[in-house]
Structure formats: structure tokens, C-alpha cells
Symmetry: C2
Amino acid sequence: MKEYFDILRACPLFRDMEPQELKKALECLSAKVSFLAKGEAALREGDPANYVGIVLAGRLQIERTDFFGNRSILAQLAPGELFGESFACAGVKAVPVTVAAIEAAEVMLVDCLSITRSCGNACHIHQRMIFNLLQIVAAKNLLFHQKIEVTSKRTTREKLMAYLMLQAKRLGSLEFEIPYNRQELADYLEVERSGLSAEIGKLRRQGAIEAERRRFKICRPPGA
Amino acid sequence: MKEYFDILRACPLFRDMEPQELKKALECLSAKVSFLAKGEAALREGDPANYVGIVLAGRLQIERTDFFGNRSILAQLAPGELFGESFACAGVKAVPVTVAAIEAAEVMLVDCLSITRSCGNACHIHQRMIFNLLQIVAAKNLLFHQKIEVTSKRTTREKLMAYLMLQAKRLGSLEFEIPYNRQELADYLEVERSGLSAEIGKLRRQGAIEAERRRFKICRPPGA
DNA sequence: GTTTGTATGTTGAAATTTCAACAAGGGGAT
DNA sequence: ATCCCCTTGTTGAAATTTCAACATACAAAC
């Protein structure tokens, strides 16, 4: 577990914990580490929802595919971020999503009970983790709010601009890179890829944005 | 605060607390109660996000209205349920939603810090509330997951059927009542009201469902 | 009973999305 | 350089949604 110490120190689950405490916490958690190839799943739809996952390296994507094969992307995860924690904390039996690596990745899986159930000797560590978990789950909530805000727009164009404006705001610049390619962006916005490409082309020709692969620049904010 | 004691005992924030403890907790929280007329807002978009609200009576709706006046309904709240807790716990400055009463209602507002900040004398009560809050926020997360699952469908028909199937499953019967009228249902599904009405009519004529105001019956599950 | 207002259903035209299919471009492997 | 695969852009037809407008039904108020 030593090699992951620095990543874990930065993980919000262990926020405000001394190195010593983190070490103790890790002993309590009896975590196991998995290595994932690109495309492999850390959690599959239907798996039991006891586990909290922590991304140690690489990037993963939370997605869900319906009956007809339509993929919907819910969020993307970077090192230090958690997944599965909402399902585990809410006490559902099975996870309704798949968490898949979009590049080679490493994750740590922890039984959620070993976080929330206080152990005898170091109770305040568990309390700290529970409190941190609360903030993490609440922050996830905000992410979903944002996704809903974006996807509730009725046209591809509006969805795209809403998404881009949010990213611009988040990153503090009108020029930025997004973590999705076209297909993934379409699956996040819940629209058709070809229609999205068409709309990007139109906005580009109108001089509202510049777009080159994952790099975007907002030249004229919408409503102007 | 006495008159609300029974509602509060059933509120998940106070789960697994003895009446004595609940009483102590309430002293800590220094809550204030508001009475709301139909249509009045308990929380308005842009308000500071320090407060956790608890519904004491009546029903409220979490909604958000964009630039162009398009309303989007995120969830509906019944007595005992919380609102605003995610924003407060995530530490955002302002709430991005409006919580409005759809009928005369009473709510209790509590500063979130008074929940999460342990006080000197009854620490375990705060710990219990933090733990309960974690489960509540996680459960909210599931609600958003469901909404996203429904609204990610591409056609009005699919959204409607996905929503109805979820309700049927939740309520354990193919015949049930929904909490939304047509306009509200459209705002939840993120579609046009007239298109929704048209689609309901079509499904009715095809014998797939029966629908009368808020009462629905699924006669033929989709895919059959 | 009548009035009034709200909720729901209907319709046709315009706008938009989806779908399928293909073209163009980039990057890596050999 | 060539081949191959993957990503992105383009296009036209079919399907769907939106929009505006109006008809009908229902419930509460007078």
C-alpha cells in the first residue's frame, strides 16, 4: 500500500488526516487493489453495492447502457476520486451502473462497512471518514445537478453551449480541453453523435466557438 | 416544537435516536419553522446554501428555471424529507434551485453547521445525525440517477414508459397514482406538455396503458 | 345553474433529431 | 510509405419534437 500513499493523502476520503492516521485507517479498511486494462470494468451493472472504489491511477467513466444499447455517460473519474460510494451508503443491493477504465487504470476497492462501522480502537478516524464521505457524496450530487441542468435543454445546440459554458466557468477560461471525445460527449449530453458534430460545425462557421478535437474556445457566449 | 415531534421522529435525519436524544438534538439545532402558502418558495435560486430544510407538512417541489423560462422539476418532497442538504454539505455558496410549495406547507430550517459541528456535551448525537445525513444524501443521489435514467431516453414515449415502469416497480403495482399533473410530468421528463399528452393518447389507443389524470395503469409493459 | 379558471387533449406546420451511410483526416504499426 | 483503425464531419430522408392555437372537460365559486 506504500506506493499509493501520496495519492491517498490527496484523496478527499482521507482529508484532514495525519499520515499516521491514514496509515491506521488503511489497516482498518483491508483494501484490495485491482489493475484494469483499457475498457475493463471496475464495477459492472448488477454487481453487489458493498464496495467503495478509489481511483489510484488512470481515468474511468461511470456509464449505463439500456436495453437498446444506448450508452449514457454519467461522469468521469480522475485519480483520488471515489465511485460506488452512493450506492453503498444508500444501502442498495446492486449497482445500476458500470464503471469502466477508459485507459489503463488502478483502483482500490474497500468494503463500505469497514469505513462506516466504527472499530474499537480508533473511532475518531472512522468519524472523520464518515464526515468526509458526506462531503464527497454531496459533491457528487452537485455533479448530477449539473448534468441535469445541461441535458434538460431541448436542443443539441443548447446542451452543448450549456456544457461548454459550465466547463469554461469551472476552468476559469474561455479556452479549454474537455475530457470527452465526440462520441463520449454525445453520450454525456444524451444526443446523437452525428447531430452533435453537425451542430459544432454550425457554431464554428457562425464564429461562436472554435473546436478542434477536445480543445474548445468560446468566442461569443450564447445570447450575444 | 412539540407539535412536530411525531413527524420529526419519523424523519430520517433523526433515525435511530431516542425521544430524549431527539429533544436534545432539537435544542442544538435552533430551528425555525416557516409556513408557506401554495406557490411560495422555501428556498430560492441564489439563496445562501447554509440551510437544511425539513418538510413538516404539505408537499414541495425542487425545480429550476432557466434563462428562457423553461422549468425543470427535479423532485418532489413529502413530510419528513429534507432539502438543501446536498448544497450545504458540499459547501457551495448559493443554491442553484428553487424549492416551492405546491400546496400549503410547513418547513423547518436548520443551519447545517449546527448539525455537522459537534457541540461539547452530546457529541454522539451529532455523529448520529452526520451518519444519517450521509444516507439521506446518498439516497438523493439515487433519485437523480433515476431521473437521469428516465430523461436520457430519446423519445417522449420512451421517457414516459420508463417513468411509469419505475413507479410501478416502486409502488409494487401496475396501477398507481403519480404525484404530477401533466405539466409537471412534462417538466420532470423534460418534454413538451402537448407532446406528452399526445403520446399518452396514442399509448391509450394502442391499449398499452390506461390513463386518467394522475391515475395510470400499465396494461402491456413495453417490449411486449 | 352559470361562470370562471385550470387541466388536458388535439392538430398542423416548422424546426430538430435520429438514423444510416459514407468521406476525410490522424496516428500508430509494420 | 502503406495499411489499418478510429475519430470526426457531412448529408439526406424519415421520424419526432416543438410551438401556437384552439377544443373540451372538470372543478370550484358565485
